[in-house]
């Protein structure tokens, strides 16, 4: 016990003996780790935010469609008795919430402009429970009133729509007749889901089923939110419950978002590897010189019977102390950086148009994961321990007498 305490004491004194050198090393580890963790959180936050908003505004974790609907985009492939199916889904253990929507493609027109668009029939209360719909409100109020419509912000921009503007939507009903509906804009939404922001108009579900001459409980999509981590298992059980429907997971519906998340993750891993490699070179340099500086001191200790394993332990602890000090500084910087970016976000309104067109908010928020700090901790510990392997091997090879006689 006494031996360990002495070694610990010696290691502590020696680790910070050369203050400037130690401070430089600790600053290097701390700053690099802090910035790296901040960037990891920001990049992850970007993709997670996109995924979260897309799930909340559209497909949830799992969506159900009538077979062929996704291929044909035709209301004749609709789900009948959607209300009953939703009730059945809500009974499932892993399902947090479920809703149904009806959708029809057509032409949105104003007095001067027209563009292909899609009319989506929703229930505001259901949407609020499902994905906090009110958070998507950019302008106006979430009240359809009489003939009210909510419009995606990019579509509103394209058609020059404002609150109170009139818009006509023309589509084909279930009897193959062309139908039009006159609507007045009550709200402009910004979901950051480009499919919705650029093309969607939302009206009450019942209004759309009436327009399309479909039974009131018809749907083109049933979306499910689940907290389960076993989404594939849930997908299978839903599929067995409704074998005639097409049951798809989020990743199957939005593969590009999943791909983007994976790309970000690969990028973060490469960054982590490069930064940690260079940090290792920094620690190696400091520890190598630190041991060489004290080589005579070690020689004297060895010649008076001090065991090599004690020197090895002392040097390892010194490296660990420096590494951990850098890690602690990095954790403080990283937490501050991530805390700020998660709470206030990074305001990039100068790129707002570009970000919106890509399905991102103009303010980017970071995400904070414990894994950033755990993986960095182990990498720094590993780099610290590895950095003393080479100098210790050299030290071990030397004869104590030769070491004492050496001048440097």
């Amino acid at each position: 016990m006494y031996r360990v305490r002495t070694i610990l004491h010696l290691a502590y004194r020696n680790a910070f003996l050369r203050k400037s050198r130690a401070i430089l090393l600790v600053m290097m580890i701390g700053l690099c780790m802090g910035v790296m963790v901040g960037l990891e959180g920001l990049y992850d936050g970007m993709s997670l935010h996109m995924i979260d908003k897309t799930m909340r505004s559209d497909c949830g974790n799992i969506s159900l469609f009538a077979k062929k609907y996704r291929l044909e985009d035709d209301i004749k492939y609709h789900i009948s008795e959607a209300d009953k199916k939703v009730q059945q889904l809500k009974q499932l253990h892993d399902v947090v919430y479920a809703l149904w929507r009806i959708q029809s493609s057509g032409l949105a027109q104003t007095a001067r402009k027209s563009t292909p668009a899609k009319l989506i029939g929703i229930n505001i209360d259901d949407e609020e429970h499902f994905g906090k719909f009110s958070e998507f409100l950019k302008e106006g109020e979430l009240n359809f009133g009489k003939s009210g419509v909510f419009v995606g912000n990019e579509l509103a921009k394209k058609l020059k729509l404002h609150i109170g503007s009139k818009v006509i939507f023309t589509t084909q009903d279930a009897h193959l007749e062309i139908q039009s509906i006159a609507l007045r804009v009550k709200a402009i939404l910004h979901t950051t889901n480009i499919n919705l922001d650029t093309r969607a108009l939302f009206i009450p579900r019942e209004t759309l089923t009436t327009l399309l001459a479909l039974p009131k409980n018809s749907a083109t999509q049933i979306a499910v939110i689940s907290k389960s981590k076993e989404i594939k298992t849930l997908q299978k059980s839903i599929q067995s419950l409704f074998p005639t429907l097409d049951v798809k997971r989020f990743v199957e519906l939005y593969p590009q978002l999943k791909q983007m998340q994976e790309l970000m993750s690969v990028f973060n891993q490469i960054t982590f590897f490069i930064v940690m490699s260079v940090v290792f070179i920094g620690i190696l340099g400091v520890m190598y010189v630190s041991i060489l500086d004290r080589i005579r001191e070690f020689g004297i200790l060895l010649s008076i019977g001090y065991a090599y394993r004690n020197i090895r332990l002392q040097v390892l602890i010194e490296a660990l102390l420096l590494g951990v000090a850098g890690y602690l500084l990095g954790t403080i910087i990283g937490l501050a950086f991530l805390g700020y970016l998660s709470y206030y976000g990074l305001n990039l309104s100068m790129f707002a148009e570009g970000l919106n067109s890509f399905g991102l908010d103009s303010t980017l928020y970071a995400t904070m994961k414990l894994s950033y700090f755990i993986s960095t901790f182990f990498a720094i510990i590993f780099a610290s321990l590895l950095s003393v392997v080479l100098p210790l091997r050299q030290l071990k090879k030397l004869n104590p007498i030769e070491i004492i006689r050496s001048t440097s």
Partner: protein, 403 residues
């Protein structure tokens, strides 16, 4: 001092090799990374412009803000004549866009129908190259439509579809057209909504003789696009406005700027860590030479000369690394500009945003390489400041006594 610096570089091998390698890696990596980033952006832009947008477009001033048939270009032929003498234009043509509902049997879809000059479009867009079925340069009541639109309507070459829309004079248009060709650009929105028709027949149906929504033009050299746009702006009537691709593709331009911003932020992290390591090695080296530097001071070498010696060492090491890294980095940038990397599968992700090619080229730009190199050089010099300041904090006597 210069000769002494050279001698020191040879003597302190560990520090020299580390500084050389880190500088080499930083410079090479930076040049290649920026070349790939700029190359990807330029490729995205090229794709987007060449598919359909062109490098500039001319509209009635209020068309893009108000829209509709009230703001069309009334005398197209006169405007096209004005463009004849403009140097540097590869091609130009007029287009007229209208929206309506297309139906085939029990299927219908909203479409954007555009009247175009198919021959001129071959120089302005990728429409001809995108053909997958049937005829491109069709005449009469023929439509050249997007593959996804054809799938949606369940039509094929030879099918006859109904179209409902309005003519330029706001009269009702209900016509039957034949599908004569099908194209696929890879851009989902474009392929699900667009159909094209030869301008002569289009004009008879929509009463749009000599009228267009806009004139589209493509510059021979994109670098001269702004200049050409300003030349045109001087010539056209005041009620018309020239938009360059930077305004037409504002969101894409911003997206690329943002991507560059994050790219440089990531690079800043690499530079931060490399800067620190070079500084630490410089500092360790200087710490071990305090006695030696103290002796130099005591025999009359000035503080200024000591600083110069240490700066020379850093400059020589940095230049050596840059001499190796810059040609190699420039060659890599040039090689991959000529032979772009193909990442199959990338299409799915970017197609929704208008990127249709899976080639990732670099952009070889000597100016960019020059400032990348200069930045690495300056950072290395900055990393020498703290070690120098540390040495200068010792008096000659303190330095000689230093252990």
């Amino acid at each position: 001092m210069f000769a002494l610096a050279l001698k020191n570089i040879r003597y302190y091998k560990g520090r020299s090799v580390t500084t050389f390698l880190l500088t080499f890696i930083a410079a090479y990596f930076f040049i290649v990374y920026v070349a790939f980033m700029n190359g990807a952006h330029s490729s995205m832009l090229k794709n987007a412009l060449e598919v359909y947008t062109g490098s500039l477009q001319i509209y009635q001033k209020k068309y893009r803000s108000e829209g509709g048939y009230d703001y069309l270009i009334e005398d197209t032929s006169a405007l096209l004549t004005l463009l004849n003498p403009i140097q540097g234009l590869k091609a130009y043509s007029s287009r007229l866009e209208t929206y309506g509902i297309a139906a085939y049997k029990e299927n219908s879809s909203a479409i954007m129908l555009t009247g175009v000059d198919f021959l001129k479009e071959t120089q302005l867009s990728e429409l001809k190259k995108a053909r997958v079925k049937g005829v491109y340069n069709s005449t009469g009541d023929c439509l050249y439509m997007g593959e996804d639109l054809a799938t949606k309507l369940h039509v094929d070459v030879g099918s006859s579809i109904s179209f409902i829309g309005s003519a330029v004079d706001y009269s009702f248009v209900a016509e039957r057209f034949r599908v004569c060709g099908v194209f696929k650009t890879g851009m989902y929105d474009f392929d699900t909504q667009s159909a094209f028709m030869n301008r002569d027949y289009f004009d008879t149906i929509f009463f749009s003789q000599n009228i267009s929504t806009y004139i589209v033009a493509m510059a021979e050299d994109m670098k001269k696009n702004e200049h050409i746009a300003s030349q045109i702006a001087e010539k056209v009537p005041p009620d018309l406005k020239v938009y360059t691709w930077k305004e037409l593709m504002k969101s894409m331009v911003q997206l690329m700027q943002m991507d560059s911003f994050f790219g440089y932020v990531s690079m800043a992290l690499f530079f931060l860590v490399i800067f620190f390591v070079i500084m630490i090695y410089g500092f360790i080296n200087v710490s071990s030479r305090i006695k030696e530097l103290g002796i130099l001071r005591s025999i009359g070498v000035s503080e200024h000369n000591i600083s110069a010696l240490l700066f020379y060492e850093m400059i020589i090491l940095t230049l050596l690394a840059l001499i190796c890294a810059v040609p190699l980095g420039a060659f890599t940038a040039y090689y991959f500009e000529v032979h772009p990397i193909v990442i199959s599968g990338m299409n799915d992700m970017y197609r929704a945003y208008g990127v249709v090619s899976d080639e990732v080229p670099t952009l070889f730009d000597p100016f960019t390489i020059a400032w990348n190199t200069l930045l690495v050089f300056v950072l290395n010099l900055l990393s020498a400041i703290y070690p120098i300041a540390y040495v200068r904090s010792f008096t000659p006597v303190e330095a000689i006594r230093h252990v």
